[in-house]
């Protein structure tokens, strides 16, 4: 099942060439555990950690433009399987790491080691490792990966040729409002981000439910409203849309099994530590109060995504605020009937959007 990981890069490239099907870009992969033929798995030492990186070379003869994919919560490199297949057959070299704390990448012990600065530090080192140091790359981000991507553009704009960001809008820093107390006041203590704050607490509750149930609930959440996780009633409230036992068409049992295996192995603490650094990130990003994003951006969100339906989001997009903060914002696309995990729900559309945007910069 883990065939790809044991093949040396040269042989796996040959295998990829033999097995490549022209219409593979148009249907979600339903194959084996690691999901994709020809994906190379490497471990790179970056910023003091060992980072697992999945890579699909482009179909060309070398010198292909690179796309760096940054996943969110609670996902992995694997979330990008459809994009990697499609875009590398279009000639891009696609690279998707497991972020710090996730999957087969190291998960440092200290909670404070999961700030924006740690993660972006990892990714800058990764970009330098794959480009040789002097080149910019295309970037695609989703969820927490989108938040990280905004910061990457803020700190090292010259490393990013162009960005397709998904689901999570840029949020300019407010110098007077500390994030977590504000969220608590606005949404209450049961709001999922508030419930994630106390080290160890939510992990115990997740353990009681079991990894498969927890992941299934997150991955299938399609309520266009805030996520609440009341103690002892996680995912049972009707506000969360209830839990149906059937998987949606875009998430196979095999896909779910892959996520479950990795999360069972690693636990949730690393990923949840990102949330535990929200206030710390706010404190440390003081130098960028009022700063704009200076990279060409295309933003995509589903109209059923809880982020699109959060207070102020539509106004920020339609009222000009977003464009003011991101002057090189090329387009905002809202996908009808699509939820939070848009690149898994509607891969062909997302692939089209990514390629048509990045093409402009080739």
């Amino acid at each position: 099942m883990f065939l790809c990981t044991h093949l040396n890069p040269l042989f796996s490239r040959f295998l990829h060439f033999l097995l490549k099907q022209p219409d593979q870009a148009n249907k979600p992969t339903t194959s084996n555990m690691s999901g994709l033929d020809g994906v190379e798995h490497k471990t790179l030492k970056v910023n003091g950690i060992n980072m697992h990186v999945a890579e699909l070379p482009g179909s060309g003869s070398g010198g292909e433009p690179i796309i760096l994919f940054i996943h969110g919560f609670p996902e992995l490199w694997y979330t990008w399987r459809h994009q990697m297949t499609a875009l590398s057959s279009l000639g891009y070299r696609t690279i998707a790491p497991d972020l710090r704390g996730y999957g087969d990448t190291d998960a440092p012990e200290k909670m404070e080691d999961y700030t924006y600065f740690n993660i972006v530090g990892d990714l800058v080192a990764l970009i330098d490792a794959v480009t040789g140091g002097d080149e910019a790359v295309f970037v695609v981000g989703h969820d927490w990966g989108a938040m990280i991507a905004w910061q990457l553009c803020m700190y090292r704009p010259e490393k990013v040729k162009a960005l397709v960001n998904m689901s999570v809008l840029f949020s300019p820093r407010s110098p007077d409002r500390v994030p977590i107390p504000t969220l608590r006041r606005f949404f209450g203590d049961d709001y999922y981000i508030c419930r994630f704050q106390k080290p160890g607490e939510i992990e115990l509750e997740f353990k009681k439910l079991g990894t498969e149930k927890v992941l299934k609930e997150f991955l299938t959440y399609k309520t266009p409203g805030p996520l609440y996780l009341p103690k002892g009633k996680l995912f049972k409230s009707s506000e969360n849309g209830g839990a149906s036992s059937a998987l949606p068409p875009w998430l196979t049992q095999e896909d779910l099994d892959y996520y479950v295996t990795k999360y069972d192995n690693k636990g949730f603490t690393g990923p949840i530590n990102y949330y535990r650094n929200i206030d710390r990130n706010w404190e440390l990003t003081a130098p960028w109060t009022g700063a704009k994003i200076r990279v060409p951006v295309k933003f995509i969100v589903g109209d059923q995504d809880l982020t699109y339906n959060s207070p102020g989001a539509k106004e920020y997009i339609n009222g000009g605020g977003f464009k003011k903060d991101v002057p090189l914002l090329d387009e905002t696309v809202v996908l009808k009937g699509v939820g939070h995990f848009l690149h898994e729900e509607s891969p062909e559309e997302i692939n089209q959007h990514i390629h048509s945007f990045f093409q402009k910069f080739l």
Partner: protein, 315 residues
Amino acid sequence: MEKIEHTTVSTNGINMHVASIGSGPVVLFLHGFPDLWYSWRHQLLSFADLGYRAIAPDLRGYGDSDSPPSHESYTLLHIVGDLVGLLDSLGVDQVFLVGHDWGAIIAWWMCMIRPDRVKALVNMSVEFHPRNPSVKTVDAFKALFGEDYYICRFQEPGDIEEDFAQVDTKKLVNGFFTSHNTRPPCIPKSVFRYLPDPPALPGWFTEQDVCFYADKFSQKGFTGGLNYYRAMNLSWELTAPWDGLQIKVPVKYITGDLDPTYHIPGTKEYIHEGGLKKHVPFLQEVVVMEGVGHFLQQEKPKEITDHIYGFFKKF
């Protein structure tokens, strides 16, 4: 001196005391350790006369500015955040920046992370060194100079404060400011048991100056300033995103040939043989002042004003 205005500005969660005078393009002066806005008293007056608005804050932890209790609140990101907030509250988009000692380190990093806010930089005493991804900052100093090196002795909260407390503050101030000793400052505990009386005050540092510093530091303590050193390893962790990035602001660098920093092995070659220029490609001028020690803006105020003005007027 009476013409200098003193205000308190609310920035980045602290109250910052700011000394300012004059009108025109803004020059922001950043002091070091163990210093204050007062270090720039001569430049504040001259630059006002030259048609600039000269601003010198007490940085976080010093003088009449707030001192948050935890050393974790003194990373480079915190201090640059204070200064960006200061500029925003003054409605200033871009400044001329001048830094000395710790102020120079802050200035390098302000240029690294917010180059859009800096027109040009004159930095003094401390060169820019890129982060070494394999070794934390304080660990590197310890390996080079041993655990009695002042940076290492400053690490443990409360420890060096206890040693300082054994010495009369005026004597301490005099020792800090007027020493022309170029050896790397190693200060084992024994040094504080008997500190020789410093020689008579040099012309450029009066009894009045000593009293000003002694009063402020007696009142405030040294912990705020020491916290910058205690946050060095943390800053190292947090600045990983900028590995490999050059400083892209026009720079003039000045040091005294009796400054102990200038005598750290490798420094002269680094400054004069292209090392510094590699990381600061718009480094336009380097000046080494003969017979001048660490506190050059106080030892040779007129020359320093001329050097700074000569550079900034090009922009």
